[in-house]
Symmetry: C2
Subunit: 383 residues, 2 copies
């Protein structure tokens, strides 16, 4: 069955103090509908990806909460898997369509983080982690810093090489007006940043962000035919690993990514060489390096060196990674990230990405991670 | 495609202060596997139904959290829709199987509520409600009391008639050793109870409960054939309405139930007369009365009178409702309730319900509601 994405919309990402969650969701939902050229009444279900509404906003029942804005009466629920909540919402939406339960559904990823104090948000984000690591006082920057330490030592990679990753992503982000930080940064700026958790510096870390992203997805042949540039979902896979980093086999590979990636390439029947554009989960520089290797786009220990040499950039050759700016430059509203990634790839497959268009992109991949690698979703799309 | 339930397990419901969420989940998961006669390695995904882990426990990423107990590496995520979270987890699980994405998955409903102060839990539960009704200070007992007031006045029903519902459910609960309150109550006891929110008295209200329920569900013909008494899922439907009660068309009907129920009967291709056993969402006495009418089991305004006259009881004739004791007597660990309901119906369809067996039950229905009717899930099962 052909599961196709119609319209998409991603809101501006940033500190959006002038809108509440409802208005933010409505903006994404209304514009995704408009972009699809269909009416609200044609949507049968709403899959919401969100992590923190309960902890930060004391609001659950989010399916109904957001359906009320536009889609009264539809089946609707919240899908939660920490920073991979958007990817999970998409996975459940795709399954519901492939099952024939619904013909046309909407997926909404949303997170409103900056209305709350930084400590409150940081505490909330630790809800994605394991009890023992939290009790030991280690934060997510700390967990990813441990991975980075091992990675740098094991492969003889320098901090400068690792920091080429945010430089690349800010280079792309400068071309994305919706990015939270739509400007370039130099390697010197990254290297001279405050050390958040050694060896990770300020500009190795993704920010706290408000944002929403929505898309319409269908199996209805009439809607697909009528829509100018539908994009097919050719793989949707998810895998988990332990919540605790210390319980894992490796610090320089995320098994959930390995498993979900392998299954996704198998489901799509394509090879890594077929992917022209990808959005990978770069919550920290090291996360993108590991993802590039786990998905087979770089050899083990080579990802940071590859990026240093100019690979995965819009002005280079071959696969381009994180054209949106990634989580680093575009921002990371956790529940929205997985859907923003998909919308970004879809725009390339429709040749609608303007200045940051990957020319002739035929196939794209998104990779969304929760916690320090406890869960990963990999989706593949084709035009 | 035949989607069949294999093993099930529901833990003791009550104030379970000697187990934490992990141990409670493990008990349900391990026993559901054992009851299925399969190994953990045969499970491909875990669908967790839970509402309050974030608000009460500052723990999200529950898919991975609980998968780690038994099912390392599987796809796993949390499904949230307030008190209907269990029903939503089942809906997404059934869709994933019908889509052919997985062959065999586990569904886990769980809630650990009594480790927290009553005010904290009550505040947390209000996360299922609308902003304006919360700000006005109205609680869920208050919302359902408004429905009860209108219902009693509109149909000339007495408080005694309405209170026959918890009497029936405690009569059943006395036969369920896993119930939180496994004893009968008299009409006099219900009528003389403290008024929680007039006209609802203490014994019209479901309690705060710890508990978990798990089941294994598959499309694998070999597993279905090998399993002694598989139960088929013949319908899985969900609908929403406004979060706010004051925004709805009626106080004596829940539109989400009406819509999900109609769609479920249509999907199953059966009539209400075909249902022998049902678990309905009796968070308050009035909720069961309205559900009986919305699903067509009683005429409008007749449900409480029907129960008063002995209908829907194990010692009566025809459809039996809430043999587990319902939310009222069995308890209401919110995320677990939807799965407990399914497990209860499955036990009847397997003729394994001992003293409370509905003889010759061939077809069963479950009805799970979130908030004051913002969302409802209806499932139908056949042996």
């Amino acid at each position: 069955m052909n599961v196709s994405i119609l319209g998409t919309h991603t809101t501006k990402f940033g500190e959006l103090w002038d809108v509440g969650p409802r208005a933010l969701a409505r903006e994404a939902m209304q514009n995704a509908l408009k972009n699809s050229g269909i009416e609200a009444g044609q949507i049968e279900a709403l899959f919401v990806g969100n992590m923190l509404s309960g902890i930060l906003g004391n609001q659950e029942n989010l399916g109904s909460f957001f359906a009320n804005e536009l889609l009264d009466g539809v089946a609707a629920f919240k899908n939660e898997a920490a920073c991979a909540s958007g990817g999970m919402a998409m996975h459940n939406a795709v399954n519901s369509l492939a099952a024939g339960k619904y013909k046309t559904v909407m997926v909404l990823g949303i997170e409103k983080m900056t209305d709350h104090g930084v400590t409150e948000v940081t505490d909330g984000l630790m809800a994605a982690g394991s009890d023992e690591e939290r009790q030991a006082g280690i934060t997510f920057p700390g967990l990813y810093a441990l991975m980075a330490k091992v990675y740098l030592q094991m492969y003889g990679v320098t901090e400068e090489e690792l920091s080429s990753i945010p430089v690349k992503n800010h280079f792309h982000g400068a071309l994305n007006p919706k990015a939270q930080f739509p400007f370039a940064v130099t390697l010197e700026q990254v290297m001279s940043g405050a050390r958040i958790a050694d060896p990770l510096k300020l500009l190795d870390c993704s920010p706290i962000t408000d944002g929403a992203a929505a898309l319409v997805i269908t199996t209805d042949p009439k809607l697909i035919k009528k829509f100018k540039k539908p994009v097919s979902v050719v793989a949707s896979q998810v895998a988990t690993d332990t919540l605790a980093l210390n319980a894992r086999a490796s610090y320089v590979s995320i098994n959930a990514t390995l498993v979900a990636g392998e299954k996704a390439f198998k489901e799509a029947g394509v090879k890594k060489e077929n992917i022209h554009v990808a959005e990978l989960h770069d919550c920290f520089s090291i996360a993108e390096a590991i993802a590039l290797e786990d998905l087979g786009f770089s050899k083990r220990g080579r990802a940071a060196k590859d990026v240093t040499e100019g690979k995965f950039r819009l002005d280079g050759e071959g696969l381009v990674v994180n054209t949106s700016g990634g989580l680093k430059a575009a921002g990371h509203p956790v529940g929205a990230t997985g859907i923003k990634q998909i919308n970004e790839v879809v725009m390339h497959l429709r040749e609608e990405s303007g200045k940051r268009q990957v020319k002739g992109a035929k196939m794209g991949l998104t990779h969304n991670v929760g916690g320090s690698g406890a869960i990963a979703a990999v989706h593949i799309f084709s035009n």
